[in-house]
């Protein structure tokens, strides 16, 4: 089974990859309502991610989800920096695992809520 992680692209993130080879890889989901990139993850790297982050899960699509937000932010940084969706971006993220865990520990206490009326 092939695994992947979805990198969501809001306008700000999209601007950072616009005009690069990655722009061709952008996928549109749900009738064009969502833009994203799919980063492929090998079996070996999937196991490493699950081992390092105990909230991580594999969903019904084979997507790795429920990793810390800090992981996802770093993943985008790696993608934007290396301009690739290959295994090296996941390796780049895992190289910073301690830093991500430190940030994740803080984000498990507090995440700012969106400013919408409820």
């Amino acid at each position: 089974m092939a695994y992947f992680i979805v990198v969501l692209l809001d306008d700000n993130r999209f601007d950072k990859i616009k005009g690069t080879e990655l722009e061709k890889e952008v996928q549109y989901m749900f009738g064009g309502e969502l833009r994203c990139l799919n980063v492929e993850v090998s079996e070996e790297l999937k196991e490493k991610i699950l081992k390092e982050f105990d909230t991580a899960r594999i969903d019904s699509r084979g997507a790795i989800t429920d990793v810390p937000v800090a992981f996802l932010r770093e993943l985008f940084n790696q993608v934007a920096d290396k301009k690739t969706l290959g295994g090296e971006v996941i390796e780049g993220v895992l190289a910073k695992v301690d830093e991500i865990k430190e940030l994740a520990a803080k984000e498990s206490e507090f995440l700012p809520a969106p400013d919408i009326e409820v």
């Binding site: 749900f30 937000v69 498990s108 206490e109 995440l111 809520a113 969106p114």
Partner: protein
């Protein structure tokens, strides 16, 4: 009357168990001079994090959700369940349910069979346990393995050995060694706090509500999640089953209990489900949101059996089951719940489906696949109907989106549901259950008690 008409089934075991004393004076007399024990959460055997609170089992037993179970199980009953998934009175039941204490507590209490023990909750009298037998769990790890099965003993559905990553296995592995077996009776009804109070429909009240709504047939949707639009379409379409007409009602029954980190808070789940109705996506005359207290065991086919029992007791005629029903990880075959309800699982004691064995269930399974977005049809489409390539929906994917602060498109999560999520996000400063939520929840629980 057409012979095809389906009537509401009797409760499992033939009658609803109701073990609740509402006369406070009578209750006071019942507990006079009895020893008292303060209910504590079961703590993870390694980490010390709460993984279960037996008060939820006492509530679900005494209000009849688990009929015909009446209390903490004797050793012979647990052994029979592990072997055949049957109670001593022959009715099918999936899990051992016990009142467990430490050896030190047992020594301190000094109780014996025949004694009545008062169970306090949050410092107030809550229930009594009339002790009929005291026995010891010799090997909790073996109990945990036997509860969920092994690849060797249950090759039809168990794919991987269970371990400490499985929250249900951890519950049984973390049990204290001394079991006080006997019937529970609630002597001081707890009061649910908002928002839980408005979703409390124990079986008798639920059946009365069905009567008030003229629901002869009702299909249950099991949930432990904030609904996305795929869930909504599952409910809408599964409800087209029924008898000579679609089911009259959809009962959403949320399992409320100990949470895993990363789950949505129970409050957001209930109000998110409610928002589907209040915003009119499924009208309120046709849908009722309710809850049951239970610390999920994530036992896939076994959990589905418990769900069938709970919802038959609540009065449902049908129950929808999907892929990976009440599952976590890849311990069970993805379709093992559907295998149970269509073929049976002989190694678990079911040579036939649980509806086709003696002392089995009368609720009808509605085995569903999944809904996802089809960009060609431009709508939510059923996996077994739509011939196009579709975009799968997943709760985990949505959680990631929410965590990143991206509002999901309305085609996958209704804005009213998202608002319910954000409401409780603002309340808890976090959109999901974190360690703080889990620990506070197990301190505060869903209820308060008055003095007796």
């Amino acid at each position: 009357m057409s012979s095809l008409i389906i009537e509401r089934p009797l409760p499992h075991g033939g009658r609803l168990v109701e073990r609740v004393i509402r006369d406070k004076e009578a209750a006071k007399k019942m507990i006079k001079g009895c020893p008292t024990y303060e209910i504590k959460p079961t703590l993870h055997y390694e980490t010390g994090v709460p993984v279960r609170n037996v008060y939820r089992e006492i509530m679900s037993i005494c209000y009849g959700f688990f009929s015909p179970v009446e209390g903490s199980m004797k050793k012979a009953e647990v052994e029979r369940i592990l072997k055949e998934r049957r109670l001593l009175n022959d009715w099918i039941f999936p899990y051992p349910l016990v009142f467990d204490i430490s050896k030190e507590e047992y020594k301190e209490l000094g109780v014996t069979a025949g004694d009545r023990l008062v169970l306090n909750l949050k410092g107030k009298p809550f229930a009594i346990l009339d002790i009929e037998e005291i026995w010891e769990i010799e090997d909790p790890e073996e109990l945990a393995h036997k509860t969920f099965g092994t690849p060797e003993d249950n090759p039809e559905v168990v794919k991987e050995p269970f371990n400490k990553k499985h929250p249900g296995w951890v519950i049984y592995r973390s049990l204290q060694p001394i079991v006080l077996a006997g019937k529970y009776t609630i002597i001081n009804e707890p009061k649910f706090r908002a928002p839980f109070d408005r979703f409390w429909f124990p079986p008798r009240k639920c059946r009365e509500e069905f009567d008030n709504r003229n629901w002869r047939t009702a299909i249950c949707h099991q949930t432990r999640n904030v609904p996305h639009v795929g869930h909504e379409f599952l409910m809408k379409n599964a409800a087209y089953t029924g008898d000579v007409e679609p089911c009259h009602g959809i009962l959403v029954n949320a399992i409320i209990g100990v949470k895993r980190r990363g789950d949505y808070p129970d409050e957001a789940i209930l109000e998110g489900q409610e928002a589907v109705t209040t915003a009119g996506y499924i009208k309120s005359e046709r849908r009722l949101v309710s809850m049951c207290l239970w610390d999920m065991r994530y036992g896939n086919p076994l959990e589905s059996l418990l769900h069938g029992i709970i919802r038959q007791n609540m009065g449902c005629t049908h129950h929808m089951f999907g892929r990976d029903h009440a599952a976590v990880g890849e311990y069970y075959d993805k379709w093992s719940t559907q295998i149970l309800w269509t073929e049976g699982i002989p190694s678990f004691g079911f040579p036939k489906p649980p509806t086709d064995v003696p002392y089995g269930l009368n609720i009808r399974p509605q085995n569903m696949r999944e809904f996802s977005y089809c960009p060609t049809c431009k709508e939510m489409a059923y996996s077994e109907t739509c011939g196009h390539k579709r975009e799968k929906l997943s709760g985990s994917f949505l959680r990631g989106m929410v965590a990143e602060g991206v509002q999901p498109p309305a085609i996958i999560m209704r804005p009213e549901v998202y608002k319910a999520v954000v409401k409780w996000w603002k309340h808890f400063n976090y959109p999901f259950c974190n360690e703080k939520y889990v620990i506070n929840k197990e301190k505060e629980l869903e209820v308060d008690l008055e003095d007796l």
